[in-house]
């Protein structure tokens, strides 16, 4: 089977699963819906992995339906992340939804709806990462909101519906900015290109970007940054995020923060590339620097002041998306590579942490940190994983986020932004302090007497262990295919030949090492 057919299978599988779950009668046992869900996420993961491996190995882009959908190295980075996070959070969901069902928080119809919308959500994210059509990118981003709003409001309580409404209205209005930006780019391109039909394809736009109207592209990029930045959770458009993430079922929060926010960043990166080609790097980089720095500083303090674990994690998402934006603001191959690596590592770490917040909620029946203590006494495996996750998210070695954060600092200094790197590092110490307090008070501390000593089931624990293993593996010995894949993706963002990246300090040495590792042994 060729990779194009495989890409079609990857995209069709969750859609078929969604339709199947939706049409099957409610009276069927829950296990049927769970089985369809698990098969769907497993097939999606395996097919995606094969495509990503093929693209990273240098087989070239995968295209389907003419060039409507395309997986180049940049998309492949995000496709690999999305499918991994979908698989692991999807497995955690089974256990978590069973728990919610036992607790009476979800009835049979709500469980069925959860699995149907989960699959639809996966389908829409795959549309985002594989779309080469700029209008389709926007449609897909909007569709991610529409497919998740009922998942955010799953529990049907006043506050979960309040969170769902805020999510719906802020993201829909925000993403409307993205539509406006998209239309401005499209209209500008259609004005220049001989065939307006080609102006919808991102790959067709890039070669013409230098001829775009600079005033229009500046407006378009600001609109795109506001629009897709809203969905990614950048300050000050992040307001929906703490509410939605804290009210959604925990594994879903993990999927939204780990994968969906990165999908929005991918679209923003596509517009960033066009803007750099059209008006030069200064304007788009300044916009990203402002949004990134503001997100980090604001969310570091907001994170510290929260008393709810999931809200803390939500603000941490804003902070980390800020780091990605900051890296794009620093620019250059180092900054771009740091941004892409941070997307991958933070996606894995945050999905893990939200799943773990689910473990905590299953044990303590709350996510209020004032009522959570002594996790190590009542759920030792969860405690070890949570401790490791907190250190990983704080950017401690040997976890992977250490690598991307160090690369962020180096890229900032290399680009001449030492004056900005210093306050950003200080803000990050506030984040470390906040997570250290969670570790000391909640992971350690004294457990309430009412909480039974028994860890959550293996179906939650095993996927979480895989997350930790990936973060350790990527932190200690980043696999050569990932390095070369990120290198190729960086070359796409820079619109340069990948061979030029070998001349860049730090990055070039890493790429040489990766090449050496993939050479067959004589």
């Amino acid at each position: 089977m060729d990779t194009s057919s495989l890409l079609l299978i990857t995209m069709a599988t969750p859609l078929v699963a969604c339709l199947l779950i939706a049409v099957l009668p409610l009276k069927l046992p829950r296990a049927v819906f769970e089985a369809i869900h698990v098969v769907s996420i497993a097939v999606t993961f395996l097919a995606s992995l094969f495509i990503v491996a093929s693209v990273f190995a240098g087989a070239g882009s995968v295209e389907v339906i003419d060039v409507w959908f395309q997986v180049d190295a940049l998309s492949a980075v995000f496709l690999g992340l999305v499918s991994t996070v979908v698989l692991l959070t999807g497995l955690c969901s089974v256990s978590y939804i069973r728990f919610d069902s036992r607790e009476g928080r979800l009835d049979a119809s709500q469980v069925k709806r959860f699995y149907a919308f989960f699959s639809l959500f996966v389908f829409t994210m795959l549309l985002v990462v594989t779309s080469n059509n700029v209008i389709m990118m926007w449609v897909a981003i909007e569709a991610t909101t529409l497919s998740t709003v009922f998942l955010v409001g799953s529990y049907n309580t006043k506050i979960s519906l309040e969170a769902a409404w805020k999510y719906l209205i802020v993201c829909t209005a925000g993403v409307a900015f993205g539509l406006y930006g998209t239309l401005l780019v499209y209209a500008n391109a259609a004005d220049i290109m001989a065939d307006p039909h080609q102006a919808v394809f991102w790959t067709s736009l890039v070669p013409y970007a230098a001829q775009f109207d600079s005033a229009l592209i500046r407006i378009a990029f600001v609109f795109a940054a506001i629009g897709f930045g809203t969905k990614a959770g950048l300050f000050p458009m992040h307001t929906w995020m703490p509410d939605a993430y804290s009210q959604a079922p925990s594994p879903l929060s993990g999927l939204m923060s780990g994968a969906l926010a990165k999908c929005a960043m991918l679209v923003l990166i596509r517009f960033y590339i066009l803007a750099v080609q059209a008006v030069g790097p200064e304007f788009p980089q300044t916009v990203m620097l402002i949004l990134g720095a503001a997100s980090i500083v604001f969310s570091a303090f907001a994170l510290f002041s929260q008393s709810d674990l999931k809200r803390k994690l939500a603000y941490s998402s804003c902070e980390n998306i800020g780091i990605v934006a900051l890296c794009l603001g620093f620019g250059g191959p180092l900054g771009i590579a740091a941004a892409l690596l941070h997307c991958i590592f933070h996606g894995l770490a945050k999905a893990l942490m939200f799943c773990l917040s689910g473990n905590v909620a299953m044990k303590f029946k709350t996510s209020n940190l004032e009522k959570i203590g002594g996790i190590v006494q009542v759920a030792p495996v969860t405690a070890v994983l949570l401790g490791a996750g907190l250190f990983a998210l704080s950017g401690f070695p040997p976890f992977a986020l250490f690598l991307s954060e160090v690369l962020t600092v180096i890229s900032g200094i290399y680009a001449g932004y030492l004056w900005l790197v210093i306050p950003i590092c200080l803000a990050l110490t506030v984040v470390i302090a906040a997570f250290s307090l969670v570790f000391l008070r909640s992971v350690l501390g004294k457990a309430p007497d009412s909480v039974k000593k028994k860890d959550v089931g293996a179906l939650m624990i095993v996927p979480e262990m895989v997350f930790i293993a990936l973060l350790l593996w990527f932190g200690i010995a980043l696999p050569a295919p990932v390095i070369s894949g990120v290198g190729s993706a960086t070359a796409i963002v820079m619109q340069e030949d990948a061979s030029h990246l070998y001349e860049i300090p730090v990055l070039g040495e890493v790429l040489y090492a990766a090449d050496a590792a993939t050479q067959p042994i004589e």
């Binding site: 006043k158 409404w165 409307a176 259609a190 307006p196």
Partner: protein, 217 residues
């Protein structure tokens, strides 16, 4: 009066009708005024089709009539019937005077911003282009300034209309598929918003954003 002059004049009328949508106090009135404003948008698309000899724009105006003049107001009137008496007084955060002042300010700023745009297709329709951008921000103002969640749906609809007009003005030869994709997505967005409002109302018995402030972003 040339076709382009009609386009710019109808653009002006769009601002008047969208201001009326923002100021209306009941769902029924807002829905009817929104249908009226969408009809003005359809006329603008027809005028632009004549001005640019674009056959595609005739198709757009037909689909805009079905989606924006019939379907979306229909969904909102359905919502009004389901909500009953509670949809009569929507309330607002800003007084009508402040709303009109803000809208006027937005129009002025957008006119200034559009002056820098130097596109061939935009040369004849700069006033309408500025108005379409302003229209987008009027929708945003409606979302921010209203304390009723139903009114926020109208805000989104106005933003979407602003984008639609901009696309038509700047890319009159754009493939029909582009317009269909955007319109379909907008209809689904309104449909889901309507369903969410009904769900919220059923659970909380309120449509007031002040009662939905338990969570603090």
């Amino acid at each position: 009066m040339s076709a382009y002059a009609w386009v710019n004049a109808l653009g002006g009328l769009l601002i008047v009708t969208s201001t009326m949508v923002v100021l209306a106090r009941s769902v029924k009135k807002s829905a009817i005024l929104y249908a009226l404003q969408s009809f003005v948008l359809v006329l603008l698309l027809v005028s632009l089709a004549f001005a640019t000899d674009s056959e595609v724009l005739f198709m757009w105006s037909a689909s805009a009539f079905i989606t924006k003049v019939v379907l979306v107001p229909g969904m909102l009137l359905f919502l009004q019937r389901k909500l009953g008496a509670d949809s009569q007084d929507l309330g607002e955060r800003l007084s009508p005077f402040k709303s009109i002042t803000l809208i006027a300010l937005e129009v002025l700023i957008c006119f200034a911003a559009i002056q820098g745009v130097d596109l061939y297709t935009a040369a004849e329709v700069k006033p309408a282009l500025a108005i379409s951008l302003a229209h987008f921000f009027i929708g945003l103002t409606c979302i921010v300034s209203q304390r009723n969640i139903v009114k926020q749906i109208f805000g989104y609809c106005l933003m979407e209309n602003g984008s639609h007009v901009t696309l038509a003005l700047l890319a009159p030869q754009a493939p029909e598929l582009v317009e269909i994709g955007i319109a379909t997505d907008a209809i689904f967005a309104v449909l889901i918003m309507v369903l969410m409002v009904l769900k919220i109302y059923k659970t909380t018995k309120t449509l007031d954003t002040r009662d939905l402030m338990e969570l603090r972003g």
